[in-house]
């Protein structure tokens, strides 16, 4: 709702504003939807002048149609696919995270969502040499873990430091701070973060359900509205700045007992791709506690319900065949 103010467009002066308010026209939407002829008579202003004002205001506030051909050309040149660094996960995602979309990672406690986010951030900042924005709402991010993962990729401390500098971390613990941070990123923060490194290619929010699920339920609708606002800002940021958005979510049990991602039905329409992470039970017997399985539950590119297994310890190597890189010591604290 855009309130009419004087000086918004040529011809909209104080007297006219007063007359319009007297005729119950307070916002741009009211003016555009009302009958111009009748209004011109009531406010004793010429029909032509009012019609011109309406046209200027409409042009200022409407969204312009774009031809499909132009949109396609633009997308061809700006969409990128970011590999996550893990071949199994890439196979599931049809070669990686797509820019301009939201990808969701859901899983129970200890299923490895944060570890996957670390792996993605490290891969993008070290291998692809692009910046990453990491928004941590659970307090689970430790720079020492990121350093540990980088040390497995390279032993050159300068490169490690450079890669760490390309990961920008924001720590917030409630939804209003999250909204504030996202809005400020959208209006200039992303350009600032891109200075001195690669441009920002990914925004990771770990986790989005930690700040929203306490507000859901009950009779108030404010929680739902805030959730949809967060989704809206993430989507516009992803589309306008060509970044890939990765969010994590918790899980709940559905009526029939099966595990499903949390935040309800209204959130389920938001992410374009959804992955469910689970521990692999048989791995406990085989003493590989870091084995995880990922199942694709929503995708517009792949058939659903395909599963892949991967090991959290060796992020950039697939199940079959490890290259000769060092295995991380388990005793590292």
């Amino acid at each position: 709702m855009v309130v009419l103010r004087e000086g918004m467009c040529p011809g909209l002066d104080e007297d006219l504003l007063r007359d319009l308010r007297a005729a119950d026209i307070k916002t741009v939407e009211d003016l555009v939807s009302s009958d111009i002829e009748g209004l011109a008579q009531k406010c004793s202003v010429s029909y032509k002048a009012l019609f011109a004002i309406r046209r200027v205001l409409l042009a200022q506030h409407t969204a312009f149609p774009v031809s499909g051909a132009d949109l396609y050309e633009e997308l061809l040149s700006s969409t990128a696919i970011l590999s996550t660094g893990n071949p199994s996960l890439d196979k599931l995602l049809d070669s990686g995270l797509y820019t301009g979309e939201i990808t969701e990672l859901s899983g129970g406690p200890g299923s490895g969502k944060s570890q996957v986010c670390f792996g993605v951030a490290v891969h993008i900042s070290y291998q692809l040499k692009q910046s990453v924005i990491y928004i941590d709402t659970t307090g689970g991010l430790a720079a020492s873990r990121l350093l540990q993962m980088l040390q497995a990729e390279t032993s050159n401390t300068e490169e490690q430091m450079e890669a760490l500098q390309r990961i920008h971390v924001f720590r917030l613990f409630d939804v209003y701070a999250l909204l504030g941070c996202l809005y400020s990123l959208r209006s200039g923060g992303l350009q600032q973060a891109s200075v001195g490194g690669g441009s920002v290619k990914a925004v990771i929010v770990d986790s989005v359900s930690a700040v929203i699920s306490p507000l859901l339920g009950g009779k108030q609708n404010e929680g739902m509205s805030l959730m949809i606002q967060v989704a809206g800002v993430l989507k516009t940021m992803a589309k306008d700045f060509n970044v890939a958005a990765l969010v994590t979510n918790h899980v709940t049990r559905s009526g029939s007992g099966e595990v499903q991602p949390g935040l309800g039905v209204s959130w389920s329409h938001i992410p374009r791709t959804r992955i469910l992470l689970e521990r692999v039970e048989k791995a406990v017997a085989v003493s590989r506690p870091s084995l995880r399985s990922a199942k694709l539950i929503k995708s517009s590119r792949q058939p659903c319900h395909i599963k892949e297994e991967f090991d959290l310890q060796w992020w950039s190597r697939s199940e079959k065949g490890s290259s000769g890189k060092r295995k991380l010591d388990e005793t590292d604290s």
Binding site: A63, S67, G68, A69, R272
Partner: protein
């Protein structure tokens, strides 16, 4: 409001009737007439946006490739338009028709019939619909408006405007009324998706979750309602992660159409699955074949 001679002509000139846009979705002779509003309702992942792409392709393709050659406006309210996916469907349909002309040029001409608008709030949607009126009068080939989705601002509006339902629904009601006027004056057709916000508590009984929750003005406007749902994938436990083709064939989506327009109240069910070339409808016998395999 007075209109110029050109505007009058553009308004009265007959726009393409889209009754035959997809006969497999609608009952006999019950396709969307001029001025019809079709609502696609369903949970996530039930194929609503895929159906919209299918209808879009049918409209913009040249007649030689089985299309209707009409202009289409796509109003995108939740940034879900995947142009690359759409272009791959158009490409496969164009090459299937084995057109003699250059592929690039054919693709460009199809895409130039499509206009895309992104809206990020319901007030912007209202203003954009007003703006579209000028586009409608200047493009007599424009016969279809696709809105994906009309329910994107539901929760934000509920919270923004106070406690009374009327105030909360005011913006969407105004959009619906404006759409109604555009439908009457310009004789276009509208298809809109609406996301379900309630999952049925017991999978078999779904009447409560299928009820429309948007404002009355929108509900009055809707003439055809397509309820989309997804059938559970087949019991191929042994084939997990195995044959991709097998998996795809078992992902069947069903559409149930109810019309409340004209004198006849009719309903019709159809099923489809999603392939590389877009939506593929299943014939009756194929449906039974898949069921038997399960």
């Amino acid at each position: 409001m007075s209109e110029s001679g050109a505007q009058l002509l553009a308004r009265l000139e007959a726009r393409r009737c889209l009754k035959d846009i997809e006969p497999r979705l609608f009952p006999e002779d019950g396709g969307p007439d001029q001025g019809a509003v079709v609502e696609l309702f369903g949970l996530e992942g039930t194929g609503k946006t895929e159906l919209l792409y299918h209808l879009l392709c049918r409209c913009v393709l040249p007649e030689a490739a089985g299309g209707l050659e009409v202009d289409v406006v796509f109003v995108d309210t939740d940034y879900s338009l995947d142009m690359l996916h759409l272009v791959s469907i158009l490409d496969s349909k164009l090459s299937a028709a084995l057109l003699a002309g250059a592929d690039e040029a054919a693709l460009r001409s199809c895409l130039s019939r499509l206009l895309v608008v992104h809206c990020y709030s319901s007030s912007q949607l209202l203003l954009t619909l007003h703006f579209l009126e000028t586009t409608l009068s200047s493009r007599p080939a424009l016969a279809l408006i696709l809105i994906d989705s009309i329910s994107a601002f539901y929760w934000v509006d509920r919270c923004e405007d106070g406690v009374s339902y009327t105030k909360q629904e005011e913006k969407l009601s105004r959009c619906a009324e404006l759409l109604g006027r555009l439908l009457r004056d310009y004789r276009i057709t509208v298809f809109a998706t609406c996301h379900a916000i309630r999952r049925p508590a017991v999978p078999s009984s779904s009447s409560d979750s299928e009820r429309s929750y948007l404002c009355r003005s929108w509900q009055r406007l809707v003439t055809h309602r397509l309820l989309c749902s997804r059938q559970k994938p087949g019991n191929n436990v042994a084939g997990e992660g195995g044959d991709d083709q097998e998996q795809r064939r078992h992902q069947i989506f069903t559409v149930h159409c109810t019309t409340s327009s004209s004198m006849v109240k009719a309903s019709w069910s159809s099923s489809f699955c999603v392939t590389e070339a877009g939506v593929e409808f299943l014939l009756e016998s194929e449906e039974n074949k898949c069921a038997a395999r399960q």
